[in-house]
Symmetry: C2
Subunit: 388 residues, 2 copies
């Protein structure tokens, strides 16, 4: 029985994790949950999975939940401790009884709890990109020092991880990340300016949250994955390639020094990579349909067009520059995507905001955690000014 | 330094093995060679690689080579022992100083020397399909008893082997062998009868010997590979699928019980899988071009049409029947393909000869080596009678 702490239980990774726990009750148990704020989804999760502890980032929401746990008949018999704020998240992340921490908070808020879990020597199933994008060297150094495994949950990084099983790291020549290209792949540059969020949110192959779906439409998502892969697999950015693969069947690939390429494929369903991380190195008998390539018929591959997708180039630039630059890239992107989703800027402005924020940043080399968080704050502020 | 014995040095696998030895002189050394008969190619190989021993299947050819080694100025200073006949092949296969035996004899003649090498506890790089097709249970049982690894050299089986690295065998759900479909894939059934060997020998993606190229055109090659995979990976035939993949980029795949599919890809060049077997588990820095999927653009997959390719169905039938049936299938196919290449029968008659030979065979269960060799002899004779 593996005891899990789930950071970010109400998002899509959180929901899928809990689905796996429900499907394999003999293997997994949830001992801790965290969420941003209180809502019916979280209460339903607490009732069903009965964690010993939960934390809400929002203090008022945590208070409300505490009151509900005392007053509501269906919650009264639960033995649960409700914590709150960043300290609360960190305490849950470091729970003594946890065997593994699933890091599935969206955005930069995931960094501190993930680091706390590593310091508590918990193996990490990592879905929170930002931990590595913002603070890759800090997180990886801490994981190495504590002897903690970081198991990727992203389908692309899981594919690379699976394609490296049983192989020597020194034999790796190149990583090849695949990208569906998102919903706007074929839209000419001239028509991208006026794209409404509703259209940009129609992802062709994956169902994900809004932020990440817009990141797919700009290919920033792939850019962030390049940065993540750089740290996760300790490989220079110029040995990480991106190819457009519309069908999202090949989740990513590794080329070895003998020219051999190992690829991991499957129908696009995040339970696959998630279950691999949770139960590594054994695979679970998932009730997912087999991949029938004779029905898929065709897999296509194209080089990405950096004129159409400047954000991908910016991400490469940020990771090559290093220091605090990736944190600034990420912060500017978060601010710009939110503004776009709220109708405050146009689609092409996302890239412009990031470009100008990066141009205004003097990166600090070898930053500590505080420097990274300060760069994140600076990047957000600078981007917001530009947006206004 | 790994000391190699190369059984079948003058064929295409032999030539590629020696090319790798030449490319990596610090890693490999050839201590023994065998060939069918004497010729300039063999003499050039002996001069260049200076094995301590060589064997020729043909006695007269061996005598001639012995004389040449005494009389020819360019051979006189070689310290080489020349053996002959099946006994000679077996003695070379079991050479005390060999660290690995490359089994690359074409056809059923490869069986006895391969078994001899296993009995001498030599790890095997196996290119000779017939050892496993004819005598899979015997060869595998012997390898298990001796604790000997059999490393596949065929691109398909190497792909499966590579796709299983670091995975638990119990997690495997299905093997998926890819087949280019050969040179006649799109030829309608009505036009297949009159296909001349010259046309059937034009393989679209792989350069191989004549026998195996005709086997590609009938898909018998894939059928033999299904049988080989059944033994090599100890998996039931109904968990081995074949898909037509015209580009020969995905060399084969393994599906796991979580729905994940691991595939091995590369440009079609047999040095890749050969080098993997020779140097396993480390990969060699081969001077092969990288696979650029954005140039390949498209990978296609189709179900094979068993009406067009009855031989594939016969192979499944033979391995499911078991006992001596696969040996008879293989013998009838060898006889029929030779007759076709010599212009004695038409293309469609290849399948008919195999079908009728199988129909006339009463398979023996759990055969010993002698039974298998007798079934092989019987199958050849019966097929030849039909051909005449």
């Amino acid at each position: 029985m593996k005891k899990l702490v789930l950071l970010g239980s109400t998002g899509s990774i959180g929901a899928n994790t809990l689905q796996l726990v429900a499907d394999f009750p003999d293997r997994f148990q949830v001992v801790g949950l965290t969420a941003g704020s209180n809502n019916d989804k979280l209460i339903a999760q607490i009732r069903r999975f009965r964690p010993r502890v939960a934390a809400l980032a929002d203090e008022a929401a945590a208070d409300r939940l505490r009151r509900q746990c005392r007053s509501r008949r269906d919650l009264r018999d639960l033995k649960i401790e409700i914590l709150s704020g960043t300290d609360g998240l960190i305490r849950v992340a470091a729970s003594a009884e946890a065997d593994m921490v699933v890091s599935a908070i969206v955005g930069s808020a995931g960094l501190a709890p993930t680091l706390a879990a590593i310091r508590a020597r918990k193996p990490i199933a990592l879905a929170n990109k930002e931990s590595l994008v913002m603070a890759g060297p800090i997180v990886c150094e801490e994981a190495r020092r504590q002897g903690v495994a970081i198991l990727p949950v992203d389908s692309e990084h899981s594919a690379i991880f699976q394609s490296m099983a049983g192989q020597r790291r020194t034999d790796v020549r190149r990583l090849i990340l695949t990208a569906s290209g998102g919903p706007l792949l074929d839209l000419p540059l001239s028509k991208r300016r006026t794209i409404k969020p509703a259209q940009a949110l129609k992802h062709p192959t994956w169902r994900m949250g809004n932020k990440i779906t817009i990141d797919s439409a700009t290919l920033m998502n792939k850019g962030l994955e390049v940065i993540e892969a750089r740290w996760l697999f300790d490989i220079a950015p110029d040995r990480i390639d991106v190819v457009i693969h519309r069908q999202s069947i090949v989740h990513s690939m590794v080329e070895y020094r003998d020219g051999s390429v190992i690829a991991q494929m499957g129908i696009p369903d995040m339970r696959g990579p998630l279950a691999y991380a949770l139960n590594y190195p054994e695979r679970l008998p998932l009730a997912l349909p087999s991949l029938d390539l004779t029905k898929v018929k065709m897999l296509t591959f194209e080089a990405p067009d950096l004129k159409k997708f400047p954000c991908l180039g910016y991400a490469y630039e940020a990771v090559k520059t290093g220091g605090t630059m990736p944190a600034v890239l990420n912060a500017a992107n978060e601010a710009a995507v939110r503004a776009y989703l709220e109708g405050r800027i146009g689609f092409l402005a996302i890239a412009r905001v990031i470009r100008e924020t990066m141009d205004g940043h003097i990166p600090q080399a070898a930053p500590g955690l505080d420097d990274v968080l300060e760069a994140d704050r600076w990047g957000r502020e600078r981007a917001l000014k530009m947006i206004q």
